[in-house]
C-alpha cells in the first residue's frame, strides 16, 4: 500500500475564502488524483494531478475553482477557491501503486474534511 498524508485533516472555513489542501506520499508515484465526497454521498473524481503539466479536470470541475499543483512525484495540492457552503465535503487525495499480479491500484489518504460556514 501507500502512506498518504493530507493536511489539514479538518477545517472550518469562512465563505468566500480559499483553502489549500496538501497531499504527501511516502514514495514517488506516477499518478495522483483528487476526489470529492459530499456529505452522505459517494466519491467523485475532480481531477488528475499531472507532474510537470496542468491538471486534467473532469466534467463539472474547473481550474479556477479547484487549482491543483504537482511540483514533484510525491506531492500535490488542491485549492478550493471562493468557498461556499456547497463546498463542504471531504476532499481525498489518491495515488496509484503497483500491486504486483493485479497491476496498479488506487489508494486513498484519510481525507480533508472541510466545513464552510
Amino acid at each position: 500500500s501507500a502512506v498518504i498524508s493530507q493536511k489539514p485533516s479538518r477545517d472550518i472555513c469562512q465563505r468566500g475564502t480559499s483553502l489549500t489542501i496538501q497531499c504527501q506520499v511516502d514514495s514517488q508515484v506516477t499518478m495522483m488524483f483528487w476526489y470529492r465526497q459530499q456529505p452522505g454521498q459517494s466519491l467523485t473524481l475532480i481531477a488528475t494531478a499531472n507532474q510537470g503539466s496542468e491538471a486534467t479536470y473532469e466534467s463539472g470541475f474547473v481550474i479556477d475553482k479547484f487549482p491543483i499543483s504537482r511540483p514533484n512525484l510525491t506531492f500535490s495540492t488542491l485549492t478550493v477557491s471562493n468557498m461556499s457552503p456547497e463546498d463542504s465535503s471531504i476532499y481525498l487525495c489518491s495515488v496509484d501503486r503497483w500491486q504486483g499480479a493485479s497491476g496498479n491500484t488506487i489508494y486513498f489518504g484519510e481525507g480533508s474534511w472541510l466545513t464552510v460556514v
Binding site: 499518478m31 454521498q41 459517494s42 488528475t48 473532469e58 493485479s102 486513498f108 484519510e110
Partner: protein, 111 residues
Amino acid sequence: GESVGLHLPTLSVQEGDNSIINCAYSNSASDYFIWYKQESGKGPQFIIDIRSNMDKRQGQRVTVLLNKTVKHLSLQIAATQPGDSAVYFCAENMGFNKFYFGSGTKLNVKP
C-alpha cells in the same frame, strides 16, 4: 460517463453470518474493479480488486465475484464481524486509473 450503481443502500446482518454486497456496472469495456471499505471518519480503504479476465478472487474472509455477462460485481464477507460495519463502495476503472464509484452500501452488523 457510464455509471456504477449498487442494488442495496443498506444491509443489516447478524454477527457471524455471511454478507453479500452487490454492484451493477454499465460499461462493458471496464477491465478492472475495486471494492473499498469506508469507516466513519476515515478515507476509503482498499479491500480487494479483480480484473476482467477473472470471475472470482479471494482474500482474507472476502471474495469478489465478477459476472461480465450481466455486468454484475459482488463482495462476499464471511463470518461478518462488528468491525466490518462500514460503507462499502465498488469502483470501476474507466481508463488511466480514473475510477468511478458506486453510491455505496452501508453494512450494519448486529451483535
